[in-house]
């Protein structure tokens, strides 16, 4: 008890520092993980380019808990490098479930559309940076950097090659 009475201030400071470090690490962990994942996904392809990944297996290490029933295409975007606006589009997505989703640098999924919203397998959306001049219909990205993820369902193994070929038409590029 005498030890506690002598050191209560240090104990209180220890607990206060612990609480601050815990909260700070929890708050910044998603940003750190997202930054690391974006670097990994961009790989040699760079930013503002759609990369069409191979089907996930037990050797896949890019993103945790991948689905082996989906094909993933990713575009790590940097709206500053794209001049403020980025166009994501495809004309002939396969006849199966697919979705196009965008994640900001804090990991939040701020927009998603899927094949139910599309006609003839086409989609065409434009992201605008937080400070960019947006055009009508643009989707505002909360952060300048983030990830666009296109998921395409492998509806049947027999159609895998056709589905894979069709989803490779998805593109992302600086909007003009």
């Amino acid at each position: 008890m005498r030890w506690l009475a002598r050191n209560w201030l240090y104990i209180a400071m220890t607990l206060a520092i612990a609480a601050a470090v815990h909260v700070a690490s929890v708050v910044y962990l998603p940003d750190l993980i997202m930054a690391r994942t974006m670097a990994k996904l961009a790989g040699a392809g760079g930013v503002n380019t759609m990369l069409h990944g191979a089907r996930a297996t037990d050797a896949s290490r890019a993103v945790v808990r991948p689905s082996p029933d989906l094909l993933y295409s990713t575009c790590v975007y940097d709206l500053d490098k794209a001049g403020g606006r980025l166009r994501v589009h495809a004309d002939g997505m396969p006849r199966t479930y697919w979705s196009v989703s965008a994640f900001d640098a804090h990991t939040d999924n701020f927009t998603v559309l899927d094949d139910r919203h599309a006609r003839g397998g086409a989609f065409d959306v434009t992201l605008a940076g937080p400070d960019a001049v947006a055009h009508p219909g643009d989707i505002r990205s909360p952060t300048a950097r983030g990830v666009i993820l296109v998921r395409t369902l492998i509806e049947s193994e027999a159609r895998l090659a056709a589905i894979d070929a069709a989803r490779r038409g998805a593109r992302c590029e600086a909007a003009r």
Binding site: L15, T37, D69, F103
Partner: protein
Amino acid sequence: MRAVLKLLVTAICGIALGLFATWVLVVRGAPMGGDVGDGPWRTSLAVGSAEGGAWLRASVALHGLLALNRSETIYYTATTDSTGGKLDAHCLYRVIGRDPPARWWSITAYGPDDFLIPSPRHLYSVSMTSIRRHPDGGFVVTLTRDAAKADEIATGRGTFSLTLRLYNPHAAVAADPAHVTLPSIVRAGCT
């Protein structure tokens, strides 16, 4: 000098304690868990959105990065069987149920590292389009470390977890995620 040393020890202990709390509560926490339970399955409707707060966002970043929000997909995760026993590859399990209320669904097993479990035949998951149903519409999936045929999922060598993905879930799922009819996970024996 003694006071400076005490302050230094205080700072080191505080930082270590704070990081340890993060390790226990977030890093080692249940993969993609959530605040809603439905049998052995857990979910959160705030996955993928900013609504869930910092702790859920950190947990999802670690265990389910790039998860979609509830308007598109709802994820249920199981780390236990239906009696509460931890999922363990030394045991064999049967996942018994019917199609969950969604446009498309899948059940996938993951190792403790949150990646797919090695399987020579790539038996990582079953889905609405791959599962074989009984005449009454029900299905049985076998979880076994030596998965070798259809409707079996490989479970590896240690603990594992399952993710049930509901793509374009029916409105009733988001309305009451704790009372959706989901498959049960029954332990069938251990070695």
